[in-house]
Amino acid sequence: MLEEMRLDENIVLMGEEVGYYQGAYKVTQGLLEEFGSDRVVDTPIAEAGFAGIGIGAAMVGLRPIIEFMTWNFSFVAFDQIVQNAAKLYQMSAGQLQVPIVFRGPNGAAKQVSSQHSHAVEAFYTHVPGLWVCAPATPRDAKGLLKAAIRDNNPVIFLEGETLYGIKGEVPEVEEDEIIPIGKAAVAREGTDATIVTWGSPYYTSLAAAERLAGAGIECEIIDMRSLRPLDMETVLQSVRKTNRCVVVHEHWPYAGPGAEIVDGIQRDAMDHLDAPILRVTGQDVPMPYATNLEENVLPTEARVEEAVKQVCYRQ
């Protein structure tokens, strides 16, 4: 954000505690000092209001970044995002653009219970007019965020709440690396089964793949990085090679991008499949508080391992 804000004064940042408090998760640390309170704007708790203000400002030329303290609080702004941000371009027959980024932490943290644990991608990928990104690595987060800020459409940018502590190399300013929206990555090569995933469960999948390698099963991991548009080409290429696939995601199993990916595979790679595609997802319940329950509601390494063995008929 810092790098992009230095390039264009039309980029403003708005949200709860983004300024003086330096961000509820310290994501915006130092921005207030550099850019001042006209550009780094602390808002009252009024998500529908400041999402709408962001959209309105974007319609007439600014490029706002709106931070939701967590995506759980975006639901009170759902109307603005779905009814206005997503539709204005088409509704106005292309006369108005809404270059805006909505970003914030997504998914369960630890034991924050049912109202604070949503993985929201299924809600937002449903809507034509929105792009949806869900990076897992620091490098992708940086490159994708730059792409999102430079895009002329509203972008839903989902940062895994449990991933803020992950460290990794990121390219220098001069490299200006942009990760295009809608391009998946092959995060691990393998020949026996494909795991398709994104966000926090990417790390669960990596760990499961390491353990499976010990059992002689080499998984290929596709990190989707963006969920709308979906890079089905990369997924299909992998599945045509491995002939088996497990989709791992945190959101509820009922509908959503997980199901969409399965649909794409069965349609375009049917002849290559040696086993039904399985999904490992968050369980179909509101998130419970108790840690013994929460642990099993989230997709676990063990469940990923089991599913991969199952598609490989190794059980």
């Binding site: 034991q111 013994n292 329950l293 509601v297």
Partner: protein, 330 residues
């Protein structure tokens, strides 16, 4: 005088219970026995206790995530409350809700809510039912000053005012919404100015004196109960701890906190008790009873069985077993 002393002693005990419950909760959190977000009410106990004293058992109470104090003041047992924080099966929400989501309708406590604003409309809904059924009950909704800018509050208050619902809206203005002082998020300093727009009565006062809280909220409750419509009350208070356990509170000076602690509602009440002729020993005896109760609650929570998977799965949907009441019956 004797009656006043006994009443005040009872209030003191109720406040002390909440204080000690939360101090132990903080310790449990530090030890990793309690997880998630833990928002403490320490410093605001006079409001939960004073307000609850004005209510009847079948009145409806709604609170935010900062809900332990209000639930306990309503009658939630400290055992069930502590077990909830520990994520155990005998918890008041069976370990499914945790700190932010206590539910105890049997004691007239309709929940702790995690999303700011929405529960104001829910509380107005309970008041709507009360009026519709001519119950004579009152719905009381607590929220922070930070909630007064959001749509849920505004729309709930608008409808409560329009339909003259039997409701009391209690804004616990504890000066900070997370790290943000109210002055930076509201164009008006006095929240009760909004009451005019909702066509409702209002009141505004300091919250450290439990007797005053009881008297002033009591008047609003009576107004609501007698058909006079809702009141918006702003109570000026202060939380002594961080917003939640993860907040170090760097946005305020320790001097400021110390200054406010001079008006600690427990201290204030203790002084009042002394001037009513209460002895050290009398107060100490009461405190010891509470200490025992809290120690028991902690032990109960420690030893209780864990939250259950089948309860979680069974409680996603309610059973479809509604039958219409016989004709002519409510």
């Amino acid at each position: 005088m004797a009656a006043q002393k006994d009443t005040l002693l009872a209030r003191y005990k109720d406040m002390f219970r909440i204080r000690r419950f939360e101090e132990e909760a903080a310790r449990g959190y530090a030890k990793g026995k309690i997880g998630g977000f833990l928002h403490l009410y320490i410093g605001q106990e006079s409001i939960a206790v004073g307000a609850s004293a004005t209510l009847k058992p079948d009145d409806y109470v709604f609170q935010t995530y900062r809900d332990h104090g209000t639930a306990i003041a309503r009658g939630t047992s400290t055992r069930a409350a502590m077990a909830e924080l520990y994520g155990k099966d005998p918890g008041i929400s069976r370990g499914l809700g945790g700190s932010m989501h206590f539910f105890d309708p049997a004691n007239g406590f309709y929940g702790g809510y995690g999303i700011i604003g929405g529960h104001v409309a829910l509380a107005a809904g309970a008041a709507f039912k009360s009026k519709y059924k001519k119950e004579g009950t009152v719905s009381m909704c607590f929220f922070g000053e930070g909630a007064t800018n959001i749509g849920g509050f505004h729309e709930g208050a608008s409808l409560a005012g329009l339909w003259k619902l039997p409701m009391v809206l209690v804004c616990e203005n504890n000066t900070y919404a997370m790290g943000t002082p109210f002055s930076r998020t509201s164009p008006v300093e006095d929240i009760t100015k909004k009451a005019a727009g909702y066509g409702m009565a209002s009141d505004r006062f300091d919250g450290h004196d439990v007797q005053e809280v009881e008297a002033r909220i009591g008047a609003a409750v009576e107004l609501a109960r007698s058909g006079g419509g809702p009141t918006l009350i702003e109570i000026l208070t202060y939380r002594f701890r961080g917003h939640s356990m993860s907040d170090p509170g760097k946005y305020r000076t320790s001097q400021e906190v110390e200054e406010r602690k001079k008006r600690d509602p427990l201290k204030v009440t203790k002084t009042q008790l002394e001037s009513l002729g209460c002895s050290e020993d009398e107060i100490l005896a009461l405190e010891n009873q509470v200490e025992e109760e809290i120690a028991d609650a902690v032990q109960f929570a420690e030893e209780a069985p864990p939250a259950r998977h089948d309860v979680m799965e069974r409680s996603v949907y309610a059973p479809s077993n509604y039958v219409y009441p016989p004709v002519g019956q409510p």
